[in-house]
Structure formats: C-alpha cells, structure tokens
Symmetry: C2
Subunit: 397 residues, 2 copies
C-alpha cells in the first residue's frame, strides 16, 4: 500500500473518526466531500430488502448531483422500517448543515448488523470532528473506517488524460463480511475530477460495475446494503470528451474497479485462495455467465479448492447442474494451465498430479471450455474454509 498522501483527487476532501459504532476503538465513521457540486451515479443492491441508506441514497442520486457521502460501519440500518429511514435522513442532515450544502446532495452508506437502529446520538457527536478533519489526504482512513471483517483496506488509483488535461480516479471499497457477522456487504466509492456529463458517465459506470463488481462472489449472498457510487467534480477542466478520452476513462474505471473487486474476493470471509473461473465457448452470453457463477458459488468446488484437490468431477457436475447448453463429451478443463479434462474425461494421472501441485498456489485460474459457441465470461471467487464457518457461526452480540 502506497503512502496515504499519494491518494488524492483535486477538489475532494475526506475524514474518518471513531464514533463508537464498532466495539473496538477503530475508525468507523467517514465523510467524503466534494468542494464543487459533482455529477454522480450509483448502483444499488438488487435485494428486495433494501436498507434505509439504500432507499435514501437511491432517491437522492436521481437528480444526478452530489456533494457528500457519510458512511458508517457497525450498523446496517436495514430492516429498521420508518424509524431507520428517518435516522438515515437525520444523520445525512447533520452533514449537510455542517457543510452548508443542500440536504439532497448528501447520501449515506451503512454496513453492519441488520435489524438494529443506528445510534444517531453517537453520530451527531462525531460529525463536527469529521467536518473539522476534512483533508485531501485522508482516503486510506476512509477505507479503514469502512472495514468490518475485511482484513485490509481497499484502495485503487488511476491517472489519465482527457482533452490534454490530467485527471485522477480514486476508488475505495469494503467487502466480504461484517465485524458482527451478517452479510458480505460491498460498498465502493469512486471519485474523479474528470469533467463529464451524466449521460456520458452513466453507461460507462454501469458497464464497468457489470464486468468488475458483478463478476465476483464470496458466498452467493446479496446484501441489503450493497452500493457503488461515483462522483465526478469536473475540476480537471477538460472540454467535451473525445472517443479516445472516453476510452481512457473507461480503462481507468475498469482498472480501478477491477482491482477493488479482486481485493474483495481475495479478502472473502475465511478465504485462503483467490480463484478465477473462466468459461469459454459458451452458446450464449447468459450461459457463459451462469456457468462461471454456478461453478464459482458451488460449495463442493469451493471446499475442494480449500482442500487443494484437483477434483474436476465436481466442476463437471456444477456445469451440468447449471442448466447451460453443454455436452459432457465436449468439455475441456484446465487448472492453472494444466489440462485435466478433455472430451469430458480426465486427461492423464500425471496431469492430475501436476494440477494438484498448482492448487497449492494462492491464486488459481480454472479455465473451462464448453465448445458450444463463442461466448466467454469470468468470475472471481474464493475457497470455502473453516474460517468462513467460524466467522459466520459466531453470535452477533
């Protein structure tokens, strides 16, 4: 991890404090502030049970502009009904008043235990100090304040040029579980100084989320609180983006979000390995995605990864139950480059031995070729271990 001061984006300030929301004295409340009104977009959980911060932020981002994000760990403010929604508004208002910005330009994000009310009094006490501490060099502290069962803070950074002007893109994320285990909530905030309009930003942002954050899995669960936000304040000063500029920004988005997504899978609850499941030769786009996702979510595949056993039969069986178009005798499988299955059958015992050696690595790629068509996709996942059980079977209180 580079030094904190390396991560900054002109016009964005940040701060983090310990407000007493975690049981430890660790950072747990953070604020991001754009000195200039920023174009903004967000992608929110597909879960029908949406936490109060999701409902409020989803509503406020409709206008396409934001100034501030208040984020807390420790409490999800989910399944908290009307009171939870009011608490979300109330805490957002504390920030808006303190910063003297319109209420609708502040959003909130939460991660933590479901069903408990937000301790608004603790947040109220902490907000003045949050505002006091705002600085251009606090983003690593924000990443730390978002952490729950995360074992390391997640930041990624990109510098590019648009219309001859340098621009910056900073991404922060948390993933993979709660300090009082509950859900593998994923939060991510992207901050950039590029000058871009809503119409251009939205499809680029949406598609980058699709091929990064939507291509990882830890345990197949979808949290009530998942949220990815982007703010672009335009301070870079570039004029209308050319095709080339758009391409460069797109690359930045994919790089930054891809790195954060990989870090989330790597830091999956209890994970000892990060595993990429690549599917080639699928009959359709959906088939490629489904096959990768079913294999990547299979408990039997994930335990065999933990056991470092090249048990290819479980991969075959997962593909077979995924419902995608496939013929057993056309399937090929490679484990970290070692071809272990050809025509649906094991290649050689020697290959199995070599694959077993490769499985001792911390990072493994499993490549599946269905030989049904031209579509491909990939999912990044992790293994299923004793520690996943320990973390998630622990009592909340």
């Amino acid at each position: 991890m580079k030094k904190d001061s390396n991560y900054s984006v002109p016009g964005f300030l940040a701060s983090a404090v310990s407000a007493g929301l975690k049981k430890t004295s660790d950072l747990d409340l953070s604020l991001i502030f754009s000195q200039k009104k920023a174009v903004a977009a967000g992608v929110f959980t597909a879960n029908k049970v949406k936490a109060a911060p999701i409902l409020l932020s989803q509503e406020r981002i409709q206008k396409g502009f934001l100034r501030a994000i208040l984020a807390n760990a420790g409490y999800a403010n989910a399944c908290t009904g009307d009171k939870g929604y009011k608490d979300a508004i109330q805490t957002a208002d504390m920030v808006s008043k303190g910063l003297n910005i319109p209420p609708e330009e502040t959003v909130v994000a939460s991660t933590g235990v479901i069903g408990a009310y937000l301790p608004c009094n603790l947040i109220k006490k902490a907000v003045p100090s949050l505002i006091d501490k705002l600085s251009p060099h606090n983003f690593e502290s924000v990443a730390k304040a978002l952490m729950t069962t995360d074992s390391f803070p997640k930041i990624s950074f990109f510098k590019g040029h648009a219309d001859g002007c340098p621009f910056h893109l900073l991404g922060i994320a948390k993933g993979a579980g709660m300090i009082m285990p509950n859900m593998a909530t994923m939060l991510s905030f992207l901050l950039t100084d590029i000058n871009i309009d809503s119409q251009t930003l939205w499809p680029l942002f949406r598609s980058a989320v699709e091929c990064t954050f939507n291509r990882i899995t830890v345990d197949g669960e979808t949290s009530t609180n998942d949220m990815v936000l982007i703010m672009a304040n335009g301070i870079a000063g570039n004029g209308t983006l050319t095709k080339k500029d758009v391409k460069e920004f797109e690359k930045g988005l994919t790089d930054v979000m891809g790195t954060l997504a990989y870090m989330i899978a790597q830091d999956g609850e209890g994970a000892t390995k990060t595993v990429i499941i690549e599917v080639h030769g699928a009959a359709s786009k959906d088939d490629a995605h489904t096959a990768a996702r079913v294999v990547g979510n299979s408990n039997l595949v994930k335990t065999t990864l933990f056991g470092q056993d090249p048990n290819w039969g479980r991969i075959m069986a997962a593909i077979g139950r995924s419902g995608v178009t496939m013929e057993e005798n056309k399937v090929q499988i490679w484990i970290q480059g070692v071809k272990i299955v050809e025509g649906g059958l094991m290649t050689t015992e020697d290959a199995e031995k070599k694959a077993a050696e490769k499985m001792k690595r911390k990072q493994i790629t499993i490549t599946i070729h269905l030989n049904q068509g031209e579509w491909k996709d990939r999912i990044t996942t992790c293994d299923l271990t004793y520690d996943y059980i320990r973390i998630n079977a622990g009592y909340r209180t």
Copy 2:
C-alpha cells in the same frame, strides 16, 4: 431401527456383500431382485452430466418393467465416457445372466468418486455370492451397502390395504455425501407388492418424489448420480384400485419417501440440526418453493443455524434476494413458534432471547409468512458446519 426381519415385501429378495469397492471391508455391493416381473418407474438426476448407470437405467426403465437392481458404493461411474457406459452394461449383464432374466430388466445404480472407472473384475467376482445370498430379509444390509458418508442406514416401511388385500411398501435410501467426498448423491429404491399399472403408478410416484425428495437440500448441489426407483410386483393380488385404495397407496408413498427424505437431511454432511423452512402466503406456487429453497440453501442462514443465533436479518435478506414477490413490511417470521419478526421488524428482545433458546434444539422449524397470497411450501435442510468443510475438503485418495 427395527429388526432386519421386520422389513420384507412378498416376492422381493435382496443381498449385500463387500466386494472391495470401499477402502474398508464394509458392505459395498447390493442386489435387489423381484421374483415376478415388476411394474417400474424412475426419476433421475436433472444434472446434464449424467453418470453411466443413470443413462443405462433411464433407457431400460422406458419399457416400464424391471426385475433387478445392482447397486454399488465407492465409484460413481460418472464422467467415464463410453467405457463407463459399457462397464454399466457389463455389470448389469453379470446379474441378468446369473438370475436368468432378460438383460433389459436389470438396472444399475452407483455412488462414489467421479471420474474413476468401475472395477468390473471385483464386481464380477462378487456377483455369484450376491445371487447366492438373496433372501427376503436382507434389506437393511442393502441400506448399509449403499452408505458412503452416511452415518446411519435409511429404511422406511408402510403396510396398507387395497381392494381388501394387505400390501407392503419398503423404501431404502442413501444421501448426503461420499466416503471419498464428492457429491451428495441420493439413491432410493421403493419396493411394493401392490398390483398397479404403469399409468396409475407414474403420476403418484412422480408427485410423491416432488413433495419429499425434491423438498430437501444439503448444499444445493445436484449429483450426477441421483436416482429414485420404484418396483411393484403385484403379488398382493388386489384387483383394480378404487379411489380409496389409490389414496392409501399415495399416503404410503408420501410417508415412506417423506421419512427417508427427512433422514437424508438429518444426515447431511456435517449437520448438527435438521431445519424445516416453511413459507406461507406466497403470491404463487413457484414463489413459495423458491423462497423456501433460497433460505434453505443460504450459507449465511445455515451458519447462523449452526451458531444457534436467531439472526433473522439473514433470513430477511435471503428472502429479499430470492426474487419472489415480497414487501419487507409485510413479512412475519417465527423460529420454532416464537414470533421474531412482524411487519419486517423485530418483535421484541424477549422474543429474540426465547428464539435463541429454541435454536439449541436438534430440530427447528422456521416459519415465514410473506402475506402476498395463498401459496405455501416447505424445504427440509440442515446447518453448515466445520464438519462439512472437513468432509468435503478432504483429499480423495
């Protein structure tokens, strides 16, 4: 478990031996034989990767009659291609010749490691002794010979009357994992002496499978080898079944298969608890089934069951991501009769404490009311424990 001799059905013989297919000297090969040609039906795995015994048995049962079932543990004979299919035919033929019955009236069933070829020589050596030992009182031995990681043999029995004649229905099953861990293959054989034609048997059998074996889950995986077979030899001597007779037989099927299905969930790999997920008030039949299945397969719900923590937020979140029609503020949840959620919110802390007490039980029912319509369904599942990881992360060889 009642004494072996209590389980018999007129006209059916059985035997089991140790053929050396398991690493231990435990029983691993078994034979069921009907002295009279029996009306037969089968339900086979939905996995597109089908083991050789599935392909062969599915083909042979088309005619609607069977005389013998040869079953082995230790080897799945799955992902074994043409050779595997020939091995399945060859081993079935050993039985058909020995019993002097048409080849197409013998089927085979296998459970064990995927991708290894069946040791046909070991089976060939054992078949004469299998045939020698056929007796009306060997069904518990068959149940034992099917076991892999099962911790107890699974048998259930029903006696009824049809057209004034007593009839018997015996069911045997294995579930929940392999001795060399691979898949939670489920095999079940139902034997009855009722006189019934194929047209009457099929829908009764199919619908009993649907509401019993298709309503359990251990880890959401579908094996390459799952198979449920029924044989009815007509020896009870009843005439055409009246509506009342059909109802009684239907009750027998549901009782016997329901008991076996419950035993399979109870004996899920590493399970310490058997948990029924009941969904009421769903907007459609599919919604009721989907909601129950998603909650029953959620790793986060299953670890919270192991942790004995009434973490209802995880149940809410699983319902929310299941895609069914639901409104958060209409959901009610009971844990073993204790109402913990009303209108999407926790009822009282006292209820949470009471629910925590109830969760110490070995058998728990979680009742969910969606208040969206009139449909209901239920799934029997188990918790997710350290032992599931231990069993499934173990190396195969």
